[in-house]
């Protein structure tokens, strides 16, 4: 197959995919999104005769617009614009999960400091304030007191971009010092790991320790449901364990689904050949769509 790999930076994740694709004899067109121009009707030359484009842009804004353009041109892209649109925005993400009946942390949104403070006081302390667009745990705040809430909200209001005035407030989930990252293709788990840290943020990008994790039936069910809720594709589904005691977790809550999923930490942690499984899924998908 002819695969377009759309990128801004070639990270180790993209190198793993490139190696796998080339080893299997696929033709790969690397497309640097920074050098492309997108008109309203015709796909740029770099996208001609591709069986599929793999969006590995890295930047959410680029990913959103490029997938939209590719949809308009009729060029198949993974992930789809619809999936990107839902996953890129935490409000959309939470609404999609809730609408699908997937357990997700209690969340409310407000547009003024006063209303945000009302939500925070109702939730109690600690609670969590997140940017609606953002990643790697950036600008996430665990709020432990009203004084902290007032200060953080005031700072956010002065950051400039209107997105920072959309106050996304979430209950603090008392997870057991770790969360679970599942890489899934159309809801089928490829591999899973736990990310553990003393810090309340357990992103691998922030240095959390990782270990492989065996998913139980309930977790598998939620991964499938969460994937479907956002339109499927190559996704990173993040879960937290709730009601943990000596016998393990009572249940899980899904806090996020990521659409431009990084997997180098997962690949280092598990036995599974993650890039290999992703490419196999891509081959099947192109065969079905083709």
């Amino acid at each position: 197959m002819r695969v377009g790999l759309l990128y801004s930076r070639i990270r180790r994740d993209e190198k793993l995919l490139l190696s796998e694709l080339r080893e299997r004899g696929h033709e790969v067109e690397k497309i640097d999104v920074r050098r492309q121009r997108f008109g309203l009707t015709e796909a740029p030359e770099a996208f001609a005769d591709l069986d599929v484009v793999l969006d590995r842009c890295g930047a959410t804004s680029r990913s959103l617009y490029v997938t939209r353009f590719l949809d308009a041109y009729g060029v198949p892209v993974v992930n789809s614009h619809e999936t990107a649109r839902i996953c890129a925005d935490k409000v959309e993400n939470s609404l999609a999960l809730a609408a699908a009946g997937v357990p997700t942390p209690t969340t409310e949104v407000a547009f003024t400091v006063e209303s945000a403070l009302d939500i925070i006081e109702d939730f109690g302390y600690p609670c969590v304030l997140k940017p609606v667009v953002g990643s790697w745990g950036n600008l996430m705040a665990k709020i432990d007191s009203r004084d902290a809430a007032e200060a953080i909200l005031e700072h956010k209001e002065t950051l400039g971009h209107y997105e920072h005035k959309v106050f996304y407030i979430q209950e603090f989930v008392d997870k057991p010092g770790r969360d679970i990252r599942v890489l899934a293709t159309d809801g089928e788990p490829v591999a899973a790991m736990v990310r553990s840290s003393e810090h309340w943020l357990t992103n691998a990008a922030r240095g959390a320790e990782t270990d492989s994790f065996e998913l139980d039936d309930r977790a598998r069910e939620l991964v499938a449901e969460a994937s479907e809720a956002v339109g499927g594709g190559l996704l990173g589904v993040d879960l937290m364990e709730v009601g943990v005691d000596g016998d393990g977790a009572d249940d899980y809550t899904v806090h996020e689904v990521n659409h431009t999923v990084e997997f180098k930490a997962l690949d280092d942690t598990v036995e599974t050949d993650v890039a290999g499984d992703v490419v196999s899924w891509l081959e099947d998908r192109v065969e079905v769509d083709g």
Binding site: I10, K30, V133, N138, E262
Partner: protein, 54 residues
């Protein structure tokens, strides 16, 4: 081998270098983007922006 555009140090690059890849200068720590591979040419990598990441 290629030269760091920031500090001028010589970088020993690995064989499977890709255009678009980011390498760190071991001397000054600057992130460098691979602009070309034969021969290797490096430039300062673009800054990560707020909406980057998964």
């Amino acid at each position: 081998m290629a030269e760091c555009v920031e500090c001028g140090a010589e970088l020993d690059l690995h064989e499977d270098l890709e255009v678009g890849e980011i390498v760190d200068c071991p001397t000054c720590g600057t992130e460098l983007e691979v602009i070309d591979v034969e021969p290797a040419v490096l430039d300062q990598a673009p800054e990560l922006e707020e909406d980057w990441g998964e």
